[in-house]
Symmetry: C2
Subunit: 348 residues, 2 copies
């Protein structure tokens, strides 16, 4: 597989196939892992980092779950390709920094991605469409078990897995879902919901992780605690909470349909009218209007486009994707025009 | 002809057929006339007003230019029908006030309308599509000549026609054009243009005359002076000025196409996208967006609708028209919904 092949496929997590996929865009589980006897990436010198890269690469290449994967050494990529991988949620922003023998291995269909020399030696990630945390955990466990045949992980019986940052010690696991809550936002109930999520030690972030705004009414909800519970228990907890949030969102949608149907339809159809006609569209405007259209499709108000296509547009209208699709660098003005073209083309 | 027949026809002045009709929506000429020996309407008592009404009605009914006309006594109309006539520019707001033996006679195709017992005994009006002031004057002269066979007008050799308000003394004529200047507004040149128009004693008003805002980038330009020049001279003056303003507008359109084509197209297509999809549309929003679409059609950016249909929508989306079309009273919320329906239906 080559990097540009990604352009022609829909990431597994965007396919709108899993449980509650109308509201839950995707589920993600990642494990932080470090190899016993090697310094954490942050403290390792270039020689040690090189050794980490070599060892992990060998192990990844022979892992049966990563057949025909895309192995990319970050320093060999240009900025556009790095940004492209961030937009697809395959790597973190941290992995785009120069130096440090960083790499990523992306499995076919983008189900798994494994970052090397990010904060930890290995960050194993799996992403699925819909609310599929348990299935995600099961898949990542398999990948992890296969990998550990190649080296011992740094761990001890008291703390569990040892990680570069103490917040990950224990299971080393972060489980998160990307959830679409437009009706809770419209009915102004979102504040209370997020507040109660915070109280039970779950973190809420935006579309692109830590430090990003919750644009397009998308919220990333993940566990904060990694210690003192098994992976299964942590995932079960989040799963239960998310199911509750899904019910709140469904309730808010029913309320809107009952009390403000005209206003709701107006907002949704205006979003559709603008994106199927505008010539200049900013990234932020696109996300906001796509969110309204996504709700409209879920509520059968609009039936001219499917959820999978809309899910994809959240990603393909991002700056690096537009430039990869066009095959050349574009300045912000050119991107806004190209974004308009793409949206009209895909939504009509 | 009956009042409701008007609903099924396009007013002559909206047909987009005359000179420069892309930019000049319509031309209007009106004569203020009073019958010799009868008190001005303002000072007349009910008996005198009744006499004015009877005399003028007799004369109008046998006027060959008003065959099969629609003669309406204002006190016999409900508020909705009165407002409907105002929206069609067939009567002034002043004519809708209760009492005073007011009436209007509307000719077939709404070419002529004659108000009785407004400020003057008679207000004769002709409206044509495009820049057709000279032709309008010619037509109104014919109607006026035919009418004066029935009574002597109040006039003297020094002042000319005597009118209730001194600003109309002399010719008693007001000639005006409704002109669409979106490009001069967009390029922020409109201020200077209006300023120079004011300096040569022409008045500028909005879509619905004195005291109304210039919404939808429409401006009504008319003569202020009625005295000391012949009707022909006054009309020639305005005609010359309007031709100049039309050239300015054309220049501004070329400039926009040359320097800001993408922004222009974006604004026009967004307007089209919203009006072909929105469910709730206010009167003010409709006028603003129709203005952008009208420009788009003139510049061949949009070819899905013709200028005549857009011209009509400026009128048919007004409150009384919506209620007449629907055949019942509608509250403001219901009107905004109905307006959305009508716009989607006519623009798609």
């Amino acid at each position: 597989m080559r990097l540009n092949d990604l352009l022609n496929q829909t990431s597994e997590w965007l396919k709108a196939t899993g449980t509650e996929s109308e509201i839950v865009m995707s589920s993600r589980v990642r494990f932080a892992r470090n190899i016993k006897g090697l310094a954490f990436s942050h403290w390792a010198d270039e020689k040690q980092k090189k050794e980490i890269l070599t060892k992990t690469k060998q192990a990844l290449l022979k892992n049966k779950y990563l057949n025909n994967s895309l192995f990319l050494v970050m320093d060999e990529l240009n900025d556009l390709d790095k940004q492209f991988l961030v937009e697809r949620h395959l790597i973190s922003r941290e992995l785009t920094a120069d130096g440090g023998c960083k790499a990523v291995d992306v499995s076919e269909k983008e189900l798994f991605s494994i970052m090397i020399n990010e904060e930890d030696h290995l960050r194993l990630q799996v992403m699925r469409s819909g609310l599929e945390l348990k299935e995600s955990l099961r898949l990542l466990d398999k990948l992890d078990s296969e990998l550990r045949r190649n080296f011992d992980y740094a761990c001890n019986s008291k703390w569990g897995y040892l990680t570069a940052c103490p917040t990950n010690v224990g299971t080393g696991m972060r489980a998160s879902v990307m959830i679409h809550l437009p009706a809770l936002v419209m009915t102004k109930r979102i504040g209370k919901v997020l507040e109660s999520i915070g109280r039970i030690n779950l973190a809420v972030r935006g579309l692109y992780g830590e430090g990003t705004e919750a644009s397009g009414n998308f919220f990333q909800i993940s566990n904060q605690i990694t210690l003192g519970h098994s992976e299964q228990e942590l995932v079960d907890d989040i799963d239960r909470v998310i199911k509750q949030v899904v019910e709140y969102e469904k309730g808010a949608r029913e309320l809107l349909l009952k009390n403000s149907r005209h206003q709701l339809e107006d907002e949704i159809w205006r979003a559709y009218g603008i994106l199927t006609n505008a010539r200049i569209v900013s990234s932020l405007e696109a996300i906001g209007l796509l969110s309204a259209i996504r709700l409209g499709v879920n509520l059968s108000i609009i039936n001219k486009v499917d959820i999978k296509s809309i899910n994809e547009l959240f990603i393909t209208t991002q700056p690096a994707h537009l430039q990869k699709i066009e095959g050349k660098d574009l300045n912000p003005q050119e991107r806004d025009l190209k974004r308009g073209d793409l949206l009209r083309d895909k939504l009509k």
